[in-house]
């Protein structure tokens, strides 16, 4: 714009549109600023939500029944060894542990196919006043390991199964 006002003799009337090279550079600038900004934004979203939202409580972090006031929550942990018991009817009792805290769970729900001892589970339900977790939904958490049954059997037979799993799983 200022070029037209000054009006140097060799200047043709200023073009309405800026030359394509400059606009291209401008668009490149837009993209090269936008993408890193969004990358940083997504990083903060990840950090932010992971610090504030709770997908499930570990047994050691479980709030007391009075704090919860009947609110439905989720707990996550491992099914403790040797604690699965059949109650009356469809009732199943078992303990969920994170190896620091343990909570007893009772459910009337059919259990998922891979439910077993030492299996990660995520359970929705309520903590009653006796500190027993009454589950409305039991979900089995699958880990990232894939193995043919023979390999798992072989690992168990040689006693290396626990080592293998311990090396793999960081969570609980």
């Amino acid at each position: 714009m200022t070029d037209t006002e000054k009006g140097t003799p060799e200047n043709k009337p200023a073009p309405k549109k800026r030359p394509p090279m400059r606009r291209r550079r401008q668009r490149l600038l837009v993209v090269s600023l936008l993408l890193p900004t969004l990358a940083v934004a997504s990083f903060f979203v990840l950090i932010g939500i992971s610090q504030t939202s709770v997908y499930f409580y570990a047994p050691k972090d479980l709030p007391s029944p009075s704090e919860l006031d009947g609110r439905a929550i989720r707990i996550g942990g491992m099914v403790a060894e040797g604690t699965i018991k059949q109650g009356e009817g469809l009732e199943t009792w078992f303990d969920v542990t994170d190896y620091e805290g343990t909570v007893t769970v009772v459910t009337n729900d059919p259990l998922p196919g891979i439910f077993r001892e030492n299996q990660g589970v995520v359970i929705q339900g309520n903590l009653n006043n006796e500190g027993i977790f009454v589950a409305s939904q039991v979900m089995a958490k699958h880990d990232e390991n894939y193995m043919p049954p023979e390999v798992a059997a072989a690992l168990k037979a040689t006693g290396r199964y626990e080592d293998y799993m311990e090396k793999q799983e960081g969570g609980y």
């Binding site: 291209r24 993209v31 979203v45 950090i47 939202s53 997908y55 196919g113 990232e144 894939y146």
Partner: protein, 273 residues
């Protein structure tokens, strides 16, 4: 522009038609061979899993679909950069045509994941970080496709869609790292981990075969769509002998009152697909 010579070459529709023929055949045949071979391998010649049993075979469909959902979007981001910055219309079209494929992969991964989830976890769906972020990606795909159709001026639609594509890219790292950052019902990554794949080769190899097959299928369909569009444009134009470019230069005619035609009305077949 010497640095981007290759893309300049591809950006020329005439040359694209010449070079993409072998790509079309190559990807098509590879996709057919890998998907048929990989499916038979995965269904009949792989071991069951020690926990999941036979239902582990859903993985051979689910994992490639889920990974291609993200690869397709990454492809759209790269194509959109070339379209947005250098105004390569063919790149814009490549991004546009990749979206329906990405959405198809996304829906396939959601459905197969849901079936596997019912068998393994005991629920069809759970609002954990992985599942929710993939569902969001499906909506981004739908929004992106809708935006292209909502704006009649194709050049403007390309620009807006590219920006939406950039903003939506925020979701890719969220999906990828959702299983590491959050406690999720979905398991963490199996193939790419610091300790290497947590899967024996007799499962990993058919899985990688299927993944390559999906990638080839994606390449095949995007190439096919681009060639179809260019053919349509060529047929729609009034002077078929002239080289067809996606955005034709405005030329003066003998018309007593020459009027600059609306860019959207030029590619005759554009709005119909």
């Amino acid at each position: 522009m010497g640095t981007f010579n290759f893309f300049d070459t591809l950006a020329n529709p005439e040359r694209f038609m010449r070079y993409s023929g072998p790509i079309l055949w190559g990807t098509g045949l590879a996709a057919a061979a890998l998907l048929v071979g990989g499916s038979i391998w995965a269904l009949f010649f792989t071991p069951p899993d020690y926990q999941m049993g036979e239902s582990v075979r859903i993985m051979y469909v689910h994992v490639p679909a889920a990974s291609m959902t993200m690869m397709a979007y990454a492809f759209m981001v790269v194509a959109s950069i070339f379209g947005y910055v250098w105004r390569h219309q063919l790149a814009d079209l490549a991004a546009r045509e990749a979206a329906p494929m990405g959405l198809a992969f996304c829906i396939l991964s959601l459905i197969t994941g849901s079936i596997w989830g019912k068998i393994t976890w005991g629920v069809w769906w759970d609002w954990d970080a992985r599942m929710t972020s993939v569902l969001v990606l499906a909506f981004i795909y739908i929004g992106y496709m809708a935006l292209w159709r909502a704006i009649e001026n194709q050049a403007q639609a390309a620009r807006s869609a590219a920006l939406l594509c950039f903003v939506g890219a925020i979701n890719l790292p969220i999906i990828k790292f959702s299983v590491e950052f959050w406690e999720t019902l979905h398991q963490p990554a199996t193939i790419i981990t610091p300790e290497g794949p947590k899967m024996p080769p007799e499962m990993l190899l058919p899985l990688l075969t299927m993944m390559t097959g999906y990638a080839m299928l994606f390449g095949f369909f995007v190439t096919l769509r681009l060639r179809t569009i260019l053919r349509e444009k060529r047929q729609g134009s009034h002077a078929p002998s002239r080289p067809v470019s996606v955005a034709q230069p405005v030329t003066m005619t003998d018309d007593p009152a020459p009027r600059r035609p609306e860019p959207s009305s030029q590619p005759a077949s554009e709005g119909s697909n």
